[in-house]
Amino acid sequence: MSLSDQIVHSLELSLLVATLSTFLVTLIGGFLAYFLAMNKFRFKSVVEVLCLMPLVLPPTVIGYYLILFFGREGILGQYIYSYFDFSIMFTWYAAVLASFVVSLPLMIKTTQSAIEAVDKNLIDSSYVLGYGKIETALRVIFPLAKRGMLAGIILSFARGLGEFGATLMVAGNIPGKTDTLPLAIYSAASSGEWKSAHLIVLSLTLLSALFIFLSNSLSRRVRV
């Protein structure tokens, strides 16, 4: 593979991984945030701590847990492996999984605070006027919380794009398969290929700058 092919490949892979993981984070994180914001139950604080753990744990610890759960001999992975003869390890799906886990807390945290900030009177009015729980959530709560959610989505995408530690552990660093931009930088720098390292670093920097620019102009347009 030529240098530019390699960069294009890593770029495409990184965007694909970050987009997919952000999509999952938005769905699952949004639901969890709604659930946590709207309900009081025993052990709620325990669940909250669990949801936020990936934010404070080093990515290598997350990678270790993922191997423990999804590895071929892992708690879940052994069943997947024996029934489907498939293991997520060393595939790009594992990179999505790693990005998903590390960015989930960002989505939950921002969305949960946004939902908690929604005026309770508006929610109650919605119920009184005949909307059910799902309709209220989709038509009243989420639209009112969309700024917080948007921030969560943007943070999750950025975190997913830069994910390195956990990805290296569960997806490996396989040229042409699981080498996302951060991993490609690591490979190039550790083998002393400074020319390609410079180029990949430059492209990731430009991409990130473009991303901040887009998210800034987007959040300016979204007014509540």
Binding site: R72, M89, L168, G172, S187, S190
Partner: protein, 251 residues
């Protein structure tokens, strides 16, 4: 709370001067990750003979070489192959003593003891049922470069290249094999010594790859030239040789 904070601060301050005083008799040794077990044992032995404090920095030889080229404050480099050391020598990173050949190793093909498909030889690697074959990244990991040479020598690389997983160090490949995450792997014979989870499939014939020798050298920028040279000659001595032998290295 305040008291606890104060305690932490004062103890942190108390540690500072200690570290500085020791700085003169400290050696940082960048060593190939396949040397981890044996060098830890040698460190314990060396501690009974010398007051010098040894700090190891483990990684693949290629990664360590790049770190040194970028000015990492390293006193001694122990490489699992010749090219890395030679490149540093050519770039004048080593002291006058130059590079010293220390020990040898062998390349082996291994599997986890519980591997789904058991193989018997190199040719079995063509079996598509083996989904993941681990070698070190040939660019930075010597055990991977030797493995690539072997695959090329037997004209197997094209048949396996879609299924190759590249590790960042010999140690990492050992871990993956321990966990049964991969179906077959190329490692050094010493990497799997006394490891009950890994099964030796075969030792690779010496002719199929370049000579697997470990080299040591003192880096020019060292602040403890005498100490570094003393440690390196200790590695060449008979006491260290016994330990190397015990860990499966060849002399």
């Amino acid at each position: 709370m305040k008291v606890a904070l104060l305690c932490i601060l004062t103890s942190a301050l108390a540690l500072l001067p200690l570290n500085e005083a020791r700085a003169e008799t400290e050696l940082t040794i960048s060593a190939a990750s396949s040397l981890k077990g044996v060098l830890e044992e040698i460190k314990t032995l060396y501690a009974t003979k010398s007051a010098v404090r040894i700090n190891y920095n483990w990684a693949a030889s290629g990664i360590l070489k790049t770190q040194i080229e970028q000015g990492a404050p390293v006193d001694i480099f122990l490489s699992a192959s010749r090219p890395e050391m030679e490149s540093l020598e050519n770039q004048k990173f080593l002291t006058k003593g130059g590079m010293k050949k220390l020990i040898k190793n062998q390349l082996v093909l291994v599997q986890n003891t519980n591997a789904k498909r058991r193989i018997r030889s190199l040719v079995d690697l063509k079996d598509k049922g083996l989904k993941k074959i681990a070698i070190g990244n040939p660019l930075t990991v010597p055990v991977g470069r030797y493995a690539k040479e072997v695959l090329d020598y037997y004209k197997l690389f094209d048949a396996v290249k879609e299924r190759v997983v590249m590790g960042e160090s010999a140690r990492q490949i050992v871990d993956y094999t321990n966990l049964n995450e991969i179906d077959a792997a190329f490692l050094f014979a010493t990497d799997i010594l006394n490891n009950k989870k890994i099964r030796l499939v075969m030792t690779i014939p010496q002719g199929a790859h370049s000579d697997i020798s470990y080299y040591g050298g003192v880096i020019k920028t060292t602040k403890g030239l005498k100490e570094a040279e003393a440690y390196l000659s200790f590695l060449e001595g008979n006491e260290a040789k016994l330990i190397f032998k015990k860990w499966g290295f060849l002399l």
